[in-house]
């Protein structure tokens, strides 16, 4: 993928498919350690330990009946290329957390890219799911929680054009503020 934000969109689609009602996405960067953590967690149907192993290493399994998923292996590869790693924690009936660690000063580090578009696409295409988007840079952070927005909006949907535009600008402005000193 050209940007990590596309991997995030793809990994979050797994949570959508797992029937999650809450998906939390966090990007946390530490400039002194030159490390970026991307975490996607959900309260969806979860996986058994065997499933988790198969998902991490789909090419080493004997599974022949089902198509091999590419989403998680690609994300893992993007992290490992930089000297980082990918971790999956999952429990059936409880949910899943995928965490990828990146070394941001590595030559093969893929830029984060347009996270705002990823969040807008997730939020407006999945109105029945709540999203928490958290962004941290060293000791600064901001959070958007669609539960809070829905409380304000009542029966006006998040994908109403003017509302979606507000959310987009809100995320953009807050992301900019985070990186400005």
């Amino acid at each position: 993928m050209r940007e990590l934000s596309l991997n995030v969109l793809d990994i979050a689609q797994n949570s959508v498919s797992a029937n999650a009602s809450l998906i939390e996405i966090e990007l946390s960067e530490n400039t002194s350690d030159k490390e970026l953590l991307i975490s996607v967690s959900d309260n969806g149907k979860g996986m058994t330990p065997e499933q988790v192993e198969n998902v991490r290493d789909p090419f080493f399994t004997t599974r022949t009946t089902r198509k091999v998923g590419m989403g998680i292996p690609l994300f893992r590869f993007a992290a490992e290329m930089t000297g980082g790693r990918l971790e999956i924690e999952s429990e059936v009936g409880v949910g899943t957390r995928v965490r990828a660690y990146f070394k941001t000063d590595h030559l093969d580090f893929t830029p984060v890219g347009d996270m705002t578009s990823t969040m807008i696409s997730l939020i407006t295409m999945n109105l029945h799911i709540d999203f928490v988007y958290k962004r941290k840079l060293d000791d600064k952070q901001f959070t958007v929680d669609t539960r809070q927005l829905k409380e304000i909006l009542g029966d006006v949907p998040l994908n109403e054009q003017s509302i979606a535009m507000w959310i987009q600008q809100y995320i953009n402005e807050n992301s900019k503020q985070l990186t400005e000193v």
Partner: protein, 123 residues
Amino acid sequence: MKTLEELMALRDAAKANMTTRDDSSEVIRIVVGMATCGIAAGARPVMAKFVDEAAKRGLKNVTVAQTGCIGMCRFEPIAEVLVPGKEKVTYVQLTEEKVAKIVADHIVNGVPVTEYTIGAVTE
């Protein structure tokens, strides 16, 4: 800076404007494939373009939705246009420019853009 007060004002304006949706049997559905290969090929901006174009033209009878694997990786990004009473049209290898033309010709004027369809590419 965007404020929550502003969001409340937008909510009130949206409420006042909420037109009754057209009869659901008349709704045109656009479905964009958003599996890994679709996303890698550019489905995110394609989907956003469909939403933007529909909003820009004030098309109230159009919904844009996402689906997973459509099963034709090398033709991604793919979108299906479902007009009630008509056969499904599958558009392949989409770009934002192609989307603009599809909305203008097919969605607004009812004339499918044949050269962007799966049939044209696999011939």
